[in-house]
């Protein structure tokens, strides 16, 4: 079986490390090669990592401080230039502050986020579904 890779990290203005590491632990135990960019990672660095690991199945970004929209504001440009060409999955606390959660999700999806997850334990399932939809087959990481 080919190596399954995924890029993960925490949004630019956010220094919460624990959930990020929990996701890395889960994905590694599920057999993934995890490229973990860690806390306070600008979107530009996710694009650079994708250039280095072009086969990565997805970029998984955590945001717990309510600034997801601001931190991901460059996503449309990076999509348009083709530098981010894989699914972007976002999770965490997205509705901190004045925006209502449903509005915030709509805004983030409009920005170009592909999937928003509330439960980090669902990430491997989502990655399997995404892979199946790409290849027409289902593979489970070792």
């Amino acid at each position: 079986m080919t190596d399954r890779q995924v890029i993960i990290g925490v949004a630019k203005s956010d220094a919460h490390a624990v959930a990020n590491h929990l996701i890395a632990m889960r994905l590694r135990l599920d057999g993934y090669t995890v490229i973990n960019l860690g806390v306070c990672t600008p979107l530009e660095e996710f694009a650079e990592a994708l250039a280095q690991y072009p086969d990565a199945e997805a970029i998984v970004i955590g945001s717990l401080n309510g600034h997801a929209y601001e931190d991901l504001s460059e996503l449309p440009q990076l999509r348009a230039s083709g530098r981010i060409h894989c699914p972007v999955i976002l999770g965490g606390n997205l509705s901190v502050g004045s925006h209502k959660e449903a509005d915030e999700r709509t805004r983030l999806l409009a920005l170009g986020v592909d999937h928003i997850l509330d439960d980090a334990d669902q990430i491997p399932l989502l990655l399997d579904l995404l892979q199946a939809s790409r290849t027409g087959t289902t593979t489970t990481a070792a």
């Binding site: 220094a15 490390a17 624990v18 590491h21 929990l22 996701i23 890395a24 632990m25 889960r26 590694r28 135990l29 599920d30 973990n36 960019l37 860690g38 806390v39 306070c40 980090a120 334990d121 491997p124 399932l125």
Partner: protein, 463 residues
């Protein structure tokens, strides 16, 4: 004075420092006990010294805080907790924030205030002071600490890097702290012993005890070879008392085995550093439990928590109460408590083995600081939940059914088959479906958080 100490300092900070004879003169004329004096006394008496954390931005407020804690809590040692700007050497940002809005600082900006004010604080209280911070490069702060006549300084090239910043290479932080330790050696030759505490708590999240001890012993060894004469090795309460007592007792044994002779070593317990209970009486009980753990483990010092921990920085009265509750746990009040020593012995055997397997390959290599950095790069040393990208964080810790912290996955740590098998056996009873791994580890992290005595919610409540 920086020339005599041999440290490379920012010229702007160096220019503010007093002369070397002046600094030595202040230390020698001080009538206060030093931190090493207090530690020696505590060690002889068998009753641990108790020390709070405390730090606010403004000088007057800091002075008032120290006096209030001294009056209401009677701690054996007091603390200057330093703000985040100063920790990251952003001294001018610390100074401008101090002028504009001192309440926005999350600690006392000692470099911005300067050594004269440091001495004012030192002179204002009976208890000796320690500077606690989180600087990957604490050289300037150390120089101002020494100029202030303070006799204890926390940190180290690993323990103040990995948990505190994202991208400072270990070679850089280890070299900065090597210079600090060498400066302690210069001071020691002049008759001034400064205690150097290493921060074994690391990221404070489910920290496997062998990782804490291994990292601390390597830092303590590096400090001792540079001339440090007094080392405090801090270990974070994990919450399973047999494991915690084994770890505290092993600090003395392993320091004697690995450190050069002539170094005083004191074990320190940090009361539970993870997610704290919100309910005040549960928090108080956990604080009492921490004090008891420290005494049974033979700790020389305890850093106390407060029953406001879950809500942020405590007010002075809550902090004083935390000190007093901790002192209570170390009096004859709980002297009847004894542990199952066979269980402690079993924990000790396996923990000793893990620590030896981690540190011997590093100590047996070439230049120690390079070996440490290489070991982190290759994952032969590792810290879970690292803020720094310079630790791999491939280790996966879990609690066993009694709450002790074990390795579910040891990453690239060079453990023997026997060590790996023992960890696997201890976790067998807690085998849970892998598709809920994040939820399971989160429960381990929140172990004490949701405890409710009335409803008798056990520490591992089934959902």
């Amino acid at each position: 004075m920086f020339a005599e100490l041999g440290m490379q300092l920012q010229p702007r900070v160096a220019a503010t420092l007093p002369s070397w004879p002046e600094v030595l003169g202040y230390y020698r004329s001080s009538t206060k006990p030093t931190v090493p004096d207090v530690l020696r006394d505590a060690d002889r008496s068998g009753r641990p010294a108790v020390q709070p954390r405390c730090g606010v931005g403004a000088h007057d407020a800091m002075m008032a805080l120290l006096r209030s804690l001294e009056k209401h809590g009677e701690p054996d040692i007091l603390t200057l907790t330093i703000d985040s700007y100063t920790r990251l050497k952003r001294f001018s940002t610390a100074a401008s924030t101090l002028r504009r809005a001192p309440r926005e600082l999350n600690g006392y900006p000692l470099v911005a205030h300067g050594w004269r004010r440091g001495r004012e604080l030192n002179n204002a209280v009976r208890a000796p002071l320690e500077v606690r911070h989180g600087s990957p490069d604490g050289r300037e702060l150390f120089a101002v600490t020494v100029a202030s006549g303070i006799t204890s300084y926390e940190g180290g090239g690993i323990t103040y890097n990995i948990p505190y910043c994202k991208d400072v290479p270990l070679d850089v932080s280890l070299e900065a702290w090597r210079q600090i330790d060498a400066a302690c050696g210069v001071l020691a030759s002049a008759g001034v012993v400064v205690d150097r505490e290493v921060f074994g708590t690391l990221t404070a999240v489910l920290m496997p005890p062998s990782i804490c001890l291994a990292v601390c012993l390597l830092e303590a060894y590096a400090a001792a070879v540079e001339g440090v004469r007094c080392v405090s090795i801090a270990y974070p309460q994990g919450g399973e008392i047999h494991q915690d007592v084994a770890a505290l007792r092993l600090i003395r044994e392993l320091a004697e085995r690995y450190l050069p002779p002539g170094v005083e070593v004191y074990p320190v317990l940090h009361q539970f550093m993870g997610v704290f209970p919100r309910v005040a009486e549960v928090a108080d009980a956990l604080i009492l439990f921490g004090g008891l753990t420290a005494r049974l483990g033979g700790a020389t010092k305890i850093i106390n928590k407060t029953n406001q921990e879950a809500f942020g920085i405590p007010d002075p009265m809550a902090n004083a109460q935390g000190i007093r509750t901790t002192v209570l746990a170390c009096t004859e009040f709980l002297d009847f408590v004894a542990l199952d020593e066979e269980r402690v012995a079993e924990e000790t055997y396996w923990l000793r083995r893990e620590v030896v397997e981690l540190i011997e390959p590093v100590l047996d290599g070439g230049y120690l600081l390079k070996e440490i950095a290489d070991a982190f790069r290759s994952g032969r040393l590792d810290v879970p939940f690292s803020a720094s990208v310079h630790a791999r964080s491939e280790v996966i810790p879990r609690r066993d059914e009694h709450g002790a912290i074990r390795f579910l996955h040891a990453g690239n740590l060079p453990f023997s088959r026997a060590t790996l098998r023992r960890n696997e056996q201890r976790l067998r009873a807690r085998r849970e479906p892998r598709n809920r791994l994040i939820e399971s580890i989160t429960r381990d992290i929140d172990y004490f958080k949701a405890y409710d005595a009335r409803r008798r919610v056990p520490l591992f409540a089934r959902r």
